[in-house]
Amino acid sequence: MVKRQGLATLGTVIDTDILIVGGGIGGLFAAVKAKDKDSALDVLLVDKCEAGLAGPSAHAAGIVINWQPGDNFDDYLKEIIIENSEYLIDQDYVPEAVRQSYERVSELIDWGVDVQRDAAGNQIRIPVIGTAYGYGTPFLGGTQLTWKVRMQGVKRGVRLMSRTFVTDLLMTDGKCAGAVGFNVGNGKFYIFRAKATILGNGTVFFGRRPQMGQAGTTGDAAAAVLRAGGVMRNAEQVWATHGPAALDSSGVHLIFGSGGIIRNAKGERVMEKYNPKLLERSRRYEVARAILLEWKEGRGPCYLDCSHLSPEKITHIKTSLPRLAIALQQWGIDLARDKIEWVPYGLAMQCVGGVRVDSGDGAVSQMPGLWAIGNASDFVGGADSTAATALIASGNMGARAGVRAAEYAAGVHSLPIDEQRVHVLKKELFAPMQVKTGAMAHSDAATRLAEIVHQHIGLLKDEARLKLALSELQELKDKFSALAAKDAHELMLVQGLKNKELVAKACAQASLARQESRACHYRLDYPSRDDKKWLKWTITTLDKDGKIKVRLEDIPVGRWKYQPAVA
C-alpha cells in the first residue's frame, strides 16, 4: 500500500468520515441525519451539479406521496406488495417505510417546505396514481423542497462540493475505502478517502438528450458498484412514465389524479382494456406500455382528454404545473378543449432495478462501508408511486443510511488506498481527452445508445431483439476508445455514456434471463406472469473479463405474509 504522498501526486486527496455522492433528497437526508447522529463526524456531500438543485427529486412536479395516521394501512401494504410490485419487493421493508414516510413529510413541513392547504389550514391530500389507497400532499415546486433539506445540512455543518463527478469506488480488502472523481468545470482529479460512503447518485436515464432533471442520472451508482465487484438486482425492470409528445413535462399525478383521460385514435378510453380498476391512475409504466400496445395494434396515436374536467380542476392543473401551462399558452392550446397527444417517455430504472441492498437502510450487499439509497438502489422492486417507493422513500432511505453510516464511521479507521488502482482509474477516466480530432463525437454515440435501448430493450421486449441489442451494444462499445472529450464538460458526458452502456447491457441480459412478464418487465414472447417458475430475482454482476453475468435467486416469499397461490 502507498503512503499519502504518493496519492497526492495523482490528485487532490480529500479525507472525510462520510462521503455522500449525490445531493438529491436521499443524499441530503443522509447528510442531515448523519450529522444528527454524530455532529463530530465530518460529512462531505458531493454532487455532479449543485446539491438540492439537480436530479429528479429537485424537479418533482409537486406531489409527495406519503401515508398518514388515519389512512388505510393494511390494504395499502397488501396492494404495494401484490398488485404494485408483483412480489418483487422485500416485504420486510414495506411496513416501516410506509410508516416512516409520515415522519419524513412532517420533518419537511417543520423545515419550512410549503405544502398546499385548504381554507382551514389543513394539509390537502389527493389520491395518487398506481394505487387505490395511497395519497399525496401537493407542494409548491421541486427545488423548494430539496433546497430546504440542503439548508438543514448546511446548518449542521455538512460540507458541500459541487460540479464533481464521482466516477469509481475504491475498495480495500473487500471494503469501501472511498472513491475518485473530477470537477466537471476544470477537470481537477480528486481522491476521496472515506470511512463510509453513501451512493445517492440516482438511477440511469436512457434518453439521448437530457430530459428535465434527468441529465445527471447516467447509471453512475450501478456502474461503479459493478466495476468494483458488486451486484445489481432486478436489472430487467426498466421503467417509463408518459406525458405530452411535444414537451417534456412531469405532472401525471396531478393530471390523472384530477381525472384526465387517455383516448386512442378511435376515441376509446385506452386503460379500460388494460386496467379497468385504476384506469389512467395505473402504474406509470403500465400506462406507457398500454399506449405503445395501442400503437402496435394500429390504434395510435393516443391523446390526453381533459374536456370533461371542471374549470376549477383545469386551473388547479395549470397553477401546479407552470412549465406546462406556459408552454400550452405559447402554443395556443386550451387544455379544457383541445386533445394533447400523449406518449411514453424515455426509459429509466427509477429505483426498480439498481444496486442490490440488504435492507431499507441501504447497506450494499457484501460491501462493508458502502450504502446505496433511493433510485441508486434496487429496493423497491417494480413498485411505482407508493409511500414506500417514491420521493419521500428516497429521503427515508437516506435518513436511515445516514444514521447507520455515522454509527459505522465512528467505529472504524480510514482504510489505505491502493495507489496503483487510482493510477489506472485516472488514466482510463482521462483517456478521451487524449483522443485526437476525427474521432467519435459523444453526441453520435449517445444517439446510438438511445436508439438501441428504446428500440430493443424497451417497454415491449422479445428474445430476438434483446439479442440484437446485446450485439449492437457491443459494436458501440468497441468504438468507445475513439470517443473524444475536449474539456471536462465533455468528459462528464463521455463517462456518463460509458456508465449507461454498461447498465444497458445489464438490463438486456437480465431481460433475456427473465422469461415471463412482471411489473416493469414485459416480454411479447412471454406476456404472462408465471408465479410457479418465476418468483425469482435476477442478480447481475461483472466478471473479471468485464462480461455481464446474470443468475437467478429465489424470492423468499415463503417467510413472508403475502404469497401467490402457487407458492
Binding site: 434518453g207 412549465r323 408552454a327 397527444e341
Partner: protein, 92 residues
C-alpha cells in the same frame, strides 16, 4: 434558441450557473457575465430563469412536432412500425 440571456441586465451573480443541472451556463472570463456554453445540453427546465434575481433570462419552448419525438420514433421502429408513416398525421 430556447435560452436567451439579456447581457445588459446580467450582473454576473452566477445564480443561473449554479442552478443549471446540465452545466449549460458559465460565467464569461472577460465580461464576467453568464453565457450559454453548452446549448445542446439544455433541456429547457427553466431553473436558470427561476433563479435569476434580475429576470434577464428567457426560456422559450419550441413545441416539438410529434414526428420529431425521438423516443417515440425509436419505440415504433423497434416494433417494426415506420415512424414516418405513423407519426405523419399527428398534431401537437
Amino acid at each position: 434558441m430556447p435560452v436567451k440571456i439579456d447581457s445588459a441586465g446580467c450582473t454576473g451573480c452566477g445564480a443561473c450557473v449554479l442552478s443549471c443541472p446540465q452545466d449549460v451556463l458559465r460565467l464569461d472570463d472577460t465580461q464576467h457575465k453568464a453565457v450559454i456554453t453548452y446549448l445542446r445540453d439544455c433541456s429547457s427546465c427553466r431553473e436558470c430563469l427561476l433563479h435569476c434575481p434580475f429576470h434577464c433570462i428567457d426560456v422559450v419552448n419550441r413545441p416539438r412536432k410529434v414526428a420529431e419525438n425521438f423516443t417515440m420514433k425509436q419505440y415504433l421502429i423497434g416494433l417494426g412500425i415506420d415512424p414516418k408513416q405513423a407519426l405523419s398525421g399527428s398534431k401537437k
